[in-house]
Symmetry: C2
Subunit: 154 residues, 2 copies
């Protein structure tokens, strides 16, 4: 009915869902003392990771999340003064999102909490296997992101 690869991947998917939910919950617990959640942490991370300040819609695209939700999260972060908006020379309405001092401190604190936690979580695994996992995950991700775009050759 299915290929051996399809079977193996099928077996994997449910555990993947479960792991995802466990990671989110663990992340929530980890950074709760900082007033963060997994979602907020991820948004801060996307802002840090970007080379230059971006408007909300771009950050949402980077995250693969939907625009309105990311907007809400960033507005929340703004209320708590973790991010600020800067004038965008290229767009009057779409302001650029940057971390405030407080935002930088909070993000750094989160990463400092993360280090021992992820070290412990990875204990017993080999870098080689983790890389294999990463490669497969990326491959699946890429395949799913190429939304069946059958590009018409002009």
């Amino acid at each position: 009915m299915r290929t051996p690869e399809g079977d193996a991947l099928s077996d994997l998917v449910l555990d993947l869902f479960r792991l995802d939910s466990l990671l989110l919950t663990a992340g929530d617990r980890l950074v709760a003392p900082l007033g963060l959640t997994s979602a907020r942490w991820q948004v801060l991370g996307a802002i840090v990771a970007a080379e230059r300040p971006q408007p909300v819609a771009w950050i949402a695209r980077d995250l693969g999340g939907n625009r309105q939700n990311v907007q809400r999260i960033i507005n929340d972060l703004h209320k708590e003064e973790l991010v600020a908006f800067e004038v965008n020379p290229h767009h009057r309405r779409a302001q650029l999102v940057v971390l405030t001092r407080k935002g930088q401190r909070t993000f750094r604190a989160a990463m400092e909490l993360q280090a021992p936690w992820i070290d412990d979580l990875s204990d017993g695994l080999s870098v080689k296997d983790i890389r294999t996992v990463h490669r497969v995950i990326r491959s699946l991700r890429d395949k799913l992101e190429g939304n069946g775009e059958v590009e018409e050759s002009v």
Copy 2:
């Protein structure tokens, strides 16, 4: 700051989140014609996977989801006559959840849609690598589920 394993795992996590969300969305699209969603499909799967009919709370535990949400989903499935409740000889209130004929047909139809889809998704990957991924995922899952229970030896 982090071990090499911790670093590698860190790199992995964000892609894992993204993949998860892509898989859920793809699943939603796949089974939408059947009136299902990823969440409903998963609940049906848990009912099928269990050896014997279970009350809602047990299914929720199997799924690692929260009880109230699973209850809501199962009530929805009940309204659409995909599941039915049976008297539980061991508990007056906690009825046993079973699939109706329609539920069985729908679940089977979902799996038939899934087969070619997952075959295609797994194309290009080796069973060996997929199994490695599964093993690592399971290991992480187990570690996160053992909620720091420092069992006291009596």
